[in-house]
């Protein structure tokens, strides 16, 4: 057997790298380790002057061409539709400006650089503009809710988060009372819904992905069909099956947060199942084989190897499930029913939820109630964002950072060993 590491020892650079690492713990080439850089400079030939080139880079001329084309398009369209004809409407104006801009840009660039570059610039413009156009509705929506809801929320801060609507009359200002009862209701209902649907969804996903049953296909089809279930039907189902026949006899089956959580669980279940199934499918088969080859049962492999590996993805599943359910209004109308006062017991009595709060207030005739509704919508959006951040934090990939550190240590170790031998 030949010593394959021998040639490494003879290379001139390695010992100096090792001493640098041993001496001050910094990587070679680090500008702060001056002793090492001077030694490296002595060996290096004088640096040739280089100009870095990035073939795809936009130069100043390109940007000027784009701006010029846009201004020309604007002027041309204005000339045609505002001076010569009687107009086309703002939407038609915008579209015309864009189309003319693309045509001008193509011809100018084709004349300057060539047809290939011109096509590239036009494609870049189209894709960029599309991306911004897609973001417009989202930004608009957020802006709309903030402008309507923020003044009310500012006036009602902080009692909007703690008080309910006790004693609030229609003549009072929008900042009177709060939505504390709705926040509590939403949190409780979604938490309960998650408690029902997460175990079921994970079990179903394990069945779909880890078993070899003939029933996987039917289950998958049913899950897909369920994800298309209209949310009002979910609420109606709970209403018709539990509340309508049993409400008089059993208090648990009357309007309350528990019934709402069942309806929400129906909405969340398919989302969680399909998302978890996808992340389980991403777990490499090699890990399952490695586990089985050590004498593990299939159940133990799933529990100790597959699920921990897919932990980050499962958090995403939870986030998606919550996001799907937290804004649902329709299933709550027949189940939680809505209530103006604080009811923190989800198992007894009608309960408010944030979407219901928004829905019920926006429909009222007085301006102050409508303002309260928008403040509720803003709080709902903040709540969803907060849940996202929390879920991301819990499911963050802890291995990445430590992995980088480990790799660095591995390299250092290797170099030390090479020196030793």
């Amino acid at each position: 057997m030949t010593d394959v590491r021998a040639p490494l020892d003879e290379t001139a650079e390695l010992p100096s790298v090792v001493t640098a690492l041993n001496g001050n713990g910094r990587a070679a080439g680090d500008p702060t380790s001056s002793a090492d850089t001077t030694r490296a400079d002595e060996r290096k030939p004088p640096a040739r002057k280089r100009t870095p080139r990035r073939p795809k880079e936009m130069t100043g001329t390109d940007i000027i061409t784009m701006i010029g084309s846009f201004v020309s398009a604007l002027c041309f369209t204005w000339l045609v539709f505002s001076v010569l004809t009687d107009g086309i409407g703002w939407l038609g104006f915008g579209v015309t400006v864009f189309v003319v801009y693309l045509v001008l840009l193509w011809f100018v660039t084709a004349d300057r650089i060539g047809a290939t570059a011109a096509t590239d610039r036009v494609a870049t413009s189209v894709i960029l503009v599309s991306a911004f156009v897609i973001m417009i509705p989202l930004a608009w929506l957020i802006w709309f809710v903030i402008t309507k809801g923020f003044p009310v929320l500012r006036d009602a801060f902080p009692h909007f988060f703690t008080q309910d609507q006790r004693g609030v009359t229609p003549v009072q200002a929008a900042s009177a009372g709060g939505a504390g009862h709705a926040i509590v209701g939403t949190l409780e209902q979604v938490a309960l819904a998650l408690a029902w649907s997460l175990p079921l969804g994970v079990m179903a996903a394990i069945f779909l992905n880890e078993s070899r049953s003939r029933w996987r296909r039917p289950v998958r089809i049913v899950t897909d069909a369920m994800s298309g279930l209209p949310s009002i039907v979910a609420g109606l189902f709970i209403y018709a099956v539990f509340i309508l026949p049993y409400a008089k006899k059993i208090p648990l089956f009357s309007f309350n947060g528990f019934m709402a959580s069942l309806a929400l669980a129906l909405i969340m279940l398919p989302t969680i199942t399909r998302t978890v199934e996808v992340v389980l499918r991403l777990v490499p088969d090699g890990l399952r084989e490695a586990s089985l080859a050590m004498g593990s049962s299939r159940a133990r492999t799933t529990w100790s190897v597959v699920l921990p590996t897919a932990r980050t993805g499962m958090t995403t599943a939870v986030v998606l499930g919550i996001a799907r359910a937290v804004g649902e209004t329709a299933p709550l109308i027949f189940t939680a029913f809505g209530y103006d006062l604080m009811n923190s017991n989800p198992f007894n009595g009608a309960q408010e939820a944030l979407p219901l709060f928004v829905y019920r207030n926006i429909r009222k005739p007085d301006q102050s109630a409508i303002g309260r509704g928008f403040a509720g919508a803003l709080v709902l959006m903040l709540l969803v964002m907060g849940l996202f951040v929390i879920a991301r934090y819990i499911g963050r990939d802890r291995s990445k950072k430590a992995g980088r550190r480990a790799r660095r240590t591995a390299v250092r170790q290797y170099l030390q060993e090479t020196e030793a031998s």
């Binding site: 490695a290 050590m294 004498g295 100790s304 550190r405 240590t409």
Partner: protein, 322 residues
Amino acid sequence: MTETFIEHSEPDPLFVGVPDPGATASFTSATPVMPVMPVAQVVDAPDIDLVDDAPKRVALIGGPPPGAATLQSVNACAWFGGRLVLEDVNLVMPAGHVTALIGPSGCGKSTFLRLLNRMHELVPNAQLDGQILLDGNDIYERGMRAQEVRMRIGMVFQKPNPFPAMSIKENVLSGLKLARIKCHAKDELVEQSLVRAGLWREVRDRLNEPGGGLSGGQQQRLCIARSLAVMPNVLLMDEPCSALDPTSTRRVEETIEELRGEVTVVIVTHNMQQAHRVSDTCAFFLAAENEPGRVIEQGATDKIFSDPEDSRTLDYVTGQFG
């Protein structure tokens, strides 16, 4: 099929050169029907001193019995769906020896290896015939649990596959958790397994860091340490060095060298030099076009590489084809 072989039950010439008293004992006591190879092929394996180092090893509760075990295949066949990929493989892998399976791609070496610890049956539509005897007991017999078989016959895969969600230490100990084995001296077991796999010096200061942060060669040795922690009687290796650089390959080979005598090693490799270096006995697999793979020749490694009986073996080991 075993019934037809009862008549041939005479002292097995196979175990003449293999000092393994456990094998013959279990033949008479544990197995009612004595399975015998229909075509007696004497493997002239070189003698190896079996190391009985049970006292100095960390004790496991509920683990495999100590020592290396003899593995033998009798008329082993394998199908994927309706396609026969491996036909009538009769092979002895003597206790404590390193056996190399060589041959071109697609000749059924890996399939055979997966037959040996019942990983073959995990593939949908996979079927098999014949017997795999672990110290004389058929591992496919009714009443044999696949989990116990796999606990006694460990496996290292082609691609290093440490569990990414576990630290180095947890990776080594994962076998205990997964196979429900108890151990009172876990720290000692971690050290012992990593030392045996030749990884201890490199990772002893960062046992709690994730296994995925190691280099490819270190990951593969971590996988070997993980398999060794359960103290298997046999270790199967499916091209363990094909994804590694020469330095890491040498480390893995040193590890195999140290395991000789303690564990029976069966290694599939495409690297002729490697097979020559590490193995005591060797089996050459070959599959003609549209035909299942068969064992062309088996015997002591030195003989296979210097003076093989079959011309195809000579062509392969000298690099004429494949």
